[in-house]
Amino acid sequence: MDIGILVAGILTLAVFSFLYKDNPVYKAAESWLIGLSVGYALVIFWQTTIIDLLLVPLFSEGRLILIIPFLLGLMMFSRFSKKTSWLSRIPIALMIGAGAGVAIPAMLYARTLKQMSASVMPIIENGSLNIEAPVVALGVISTLAYFYFSREHKGVMGSTARLGTYFLMIFFGATFGYTVMSRMSTFIGRVDFLLTDFLHLIK
């Protein structure tokens, strides 16, 4: 048997042993997983970011401006000392500020404007009733009413918001159903690996 499949199979079974109960074999596999995953991320980031985006352009292409993010990055390490730790706020501030600045128009366009106009459909189309149009509009508006915080949910507002919760529950139910589907598929995929590649029970 291919040694890779053997290793993968044993590790797979080790992880599944958790289902019986927490045990040393699982714990060892879990620690191994944590270690490997951190190490993997380290290598990938070193290669694709520090080498490709920082060291190569800075030293072989002479893009001196990259000294700025380099220094900012190093400032992150000031966290390990009480005296200098405030310095790490500067790179964090840059990331947060830039992230917030990008987010405002992007969020408003894709999540709000676009979704708002997509909710508009004619109620009567070519002489026949388009039932989906009021369903979608009602769904969007009543769910927005549920997320309306400035007033108590009483009266008209209350019943609209209640309708909104029903729409929400339909969404959560559908999502739950699909997620169950997804998780089962993942498990089936692992069963496939165990039965086909590892144990050769299926051709």
């Binding site: 997983l33 944590i34 408003l108 404007l113 509009a137 915080f149």
Partner: protein, 270 residues
């Protein structure tokens, strides 16, 4: 660095300063920003905004009280998915601040495991401040707020271990969650903790609603952070969001009637 512009208007060399395609977004952004600024300004000049009751929030006191009575602890997790710049993480920190004030008052142990060293540092500071505010700085335990691992399932497995060993009476799951949500909520459920969850991750919400006692849905998390902290700038933002929501609803209604009367029109498409 040479970056050429994707100029749609023929000005290939430099591109135009204003990209005309983004004009609707610009106008909408400016309107929204003005509404938010107006709300913040009017709070500054003394207007009071109130927020409707949010069911999950009443349970916060109950959760802390129960843990204290049972001589047990509280576990608070911001989830694995977020970093410090996410709005949800910021909202979660604001809620942590008021939960920590109460745990300090009642002398209840608060355990806060995280996947991100920066979140850990900020959370330590938030809890410390809250203990001081509650008049019990000595009840702050820095060791209870710690970094575990950045690996998703490593984090989930470790928090699971803590839940089954410490058996916290109440568990707060507030922040950005991904697939680890169900692992945590199910384990919490199996030891019978009161669980209060809240996230903007829509997929995980479905699981929280099934497995937890109270769930803050999406935007409720933001509003809750304003409600609990009484922070007026948050309250005013919530108010501003409400105003925009009314505008959006009106827009949809008007455009829909328009579309029905005049099917050839498309002014609502951006």
């Amino acid at each position: 660095m040479a970056v050429s512009a994707a100029a749609s208007d023929g000005n290939v060399e430099t591109g135009s300063w204003l990209n005309i395609d983004t004009l609707p977004t610009l106008i909408f952004s400016l309107i929204s920003l003005l509404i938010v600024l107006y709300a913040i300004w009017s709070v500054k000049s003394g207007r009071k905004f109130t927020i409707r009751e949010i069911p999950g929030l009443k349970a916060v006191d109950e959760a802390v009280g129960r843990a204290t009575e049972m001589g047990s602890s509280i576990l608070y997790t911001p989830g694995w998915g977020g970093d410090i710049q996410r709005p949800t993480t910021i909202a979660s920190m604001n809620i942590l601040s008021s939960v920590a004030t109460r745990t300090a008052e009642y002398d209840c142990r608060l355990i806060y495991p995280t996947h991100d060293p920066v979140i850990m540092a900020v959370a330590q500071e938030v809890v410390k401040e809250s203990s001081i505010k509650a008049g019990h700085p000595e009840r702050y335990r820095a060791d209870d707020i710690f970094y575990i691992s950045s690996s998703q399932f490593g984090y989930a497995a470790a928090v699971d271990g803590i839940i089954s060993r410490e058996k916290p009476a109440s568990i707060f799951l507030l922040g950005t969650f991904e697939a680890e949500s169900l692992i945590l909520a199910e384990t919490g459920n199996s030891i019978g903790s009161i669980q209060i969850a809240g996230t903007d991750s829509t997929i995980q919400l479905a699981f929280f609603i099934v497995a937890c006692d109270y769930t803050l849905i999406g935007e409720e998390l933001f509003a809750a952070s304003g409600y609990l902290s009484g922070n007026e700038s948050i309250l005013s933002s919530v108010k501003a969001q409400d105003i925009i929501k009314i505008l959006i609803s009106l827009f949809i209604i008007v455009a829909m009637i328009w579309a029905t009367i005049d099917p050839s029109s498309t002014w609502w498409v951006f």
